[in-house]
Symmetry: C2
Subunit: 219 residues, 2 copies
DNA sequence: ATTTTGTCTTTGACGACTCAAAGAGATTAT
DNA sequence: ATAATCTCTTTGAGTCGTCAAAGACAAAAT
């Protein structure tokens, strides 16, 4: 039974391990977890000795199958809890991320199953992030189509919000760019870095980096 | 913000501090928390220096008003969570104690308020234990009327189960002696230590120490 | 009054997690 | 090629919660 610290390390590595190599730099982890680089080195060594990951000094870190499975379970818990807090406890979707951050380490599999059942086995959380199934070993990555890259003037639907920070979610809330919303890019100006979108009966203006955090799908 | 260990110490002291003096022996805590006496001494000293309790060496320990308030909040969380797990998640009431044991340290006040509201501000958990209100500073003690002491042949109602251990709850479940059940003591034999009770359409036989763990109220 | 017994405290140590600061490797710039 | 820079690792130290074992105290027994 990993401690909640180890669970957080696993989760941070998993959501950052992209593509084939799936190697994550220790510096990125230090940044993400808010600890000093030395702390990461120490923890990573101990996790490696427990078989949760492989550590190539000065290269980075890669989850073993076991570490990956554990990490997936944590992500699953987190996203199911988020969904539960919104759907059943009617909490504000801007608040639930941090609540789930604590709860994900305290909830047993038994309770999680009940939650899953009550929610009707959802496949995505309120931010549009996919909820891994119980046996899944793959974390679906974003397809890469976002408001920063999608074709202009064609209709899309917001699929997923790739940034959980309160300020950004507050903006999403304000503009109505939540998962499920219909959206069309009116124009995109690389020079000024501004994207203008039309929604059902409103419009939104945002910067390119922010647009890249809103994944969309053709509709 | 106390750690979950400190919260457990506070809770253990609170539920054991009876009557006026409200002094708890450190040995009782060691027993209850499953740690060695030396550990209790160490923790108790650090909690005393934080103003959560007073420690009379070789006498015992007494919560300060601050410690008491904190402890009440933990008990409140525990019992609300238990109630939630049974009523909303439809979990078996025999399982919820240990689940709540973990969850009580991870749930924010915000979430707790939602839970409280959804449950309709209950005043007792599934075992009949009173749920302290948000500002309450008193932990209601058992009135002392139990199946071991109540008048025979008169009708009573089960009010509260004073033992949360799985084996005992399993017995309660089996016999139907759950809070709310109507019960009448047919006879009590001090020589053999046996109490026989009638329920709605069944009967139950139990030992005197066990009968003392079932609080009842005249009806 | 002295010994025994039971309970509580002290001491030294350890594992998990963390930091600050110094050191080592690798990459980029000059 | 050498220096500068950036990133990562090492080292020494600290906190929290824990244990085992040795010591101190007080109440009960003789």
């Amino acid at each position: 039974m990993p401690t909640s610290t180890v669970e957080n390390y696993l989760k941070a590595i998993l959501v950052r391990s992209t593509g084939d190599e799936a190697v994550v730099a220790t510096g990125a982890l230090a940044e993400a977890l808010g600890v000093t680089p030395g702390t990461i080195t120490t923890m990573v060594k101990s996790m490696a000795s427990r078989g949760l990951l492989e550590h190539q000094p000065r290269e980075g870190v890669r989850l073993t199958p076991e570490g990956r499975t554990l990490a997936m379970a944590v992500v699953r818990k987190h996203r199911l809890v988020e969904t539960f807090l919104v759907q059943v406890l009617h909490m504000d979707w801007k608040e639930v991320h941090e609540e789930a951050e604590a709860l994900e380490h305290a909830i047993s599999d038994r309770v999680l199953l009940r939650i899953d059942a009550i929610l009707g086995y959802p496949v995505a959380d309120p931010h549009g992030d996919p909820i891994p199934s119980r046996k899944s070993h793959l974390l679906e990555r974003g397809k890469g189509v976002t408001l920063a890259t999608c074709e202009a003037l064609k209709p899309f639907r917001v699929e997923r919000i790739l940034d959980q920070s309160p300020v950004f979610l507050e903006f999403i809330q304000r503009t109505g760019l939540k998962p499920g919303a219909r959206v069309r890019v009116r124009d995109r100006d690389p020079a000024s870095g501004v994207v203008r979108c039309d929604l059902k009966d409103s419009e939104a203006t945002l910067g390119l980096p922010e647009a890249a955090k809103i994944e969309v799908k053709a509709v």
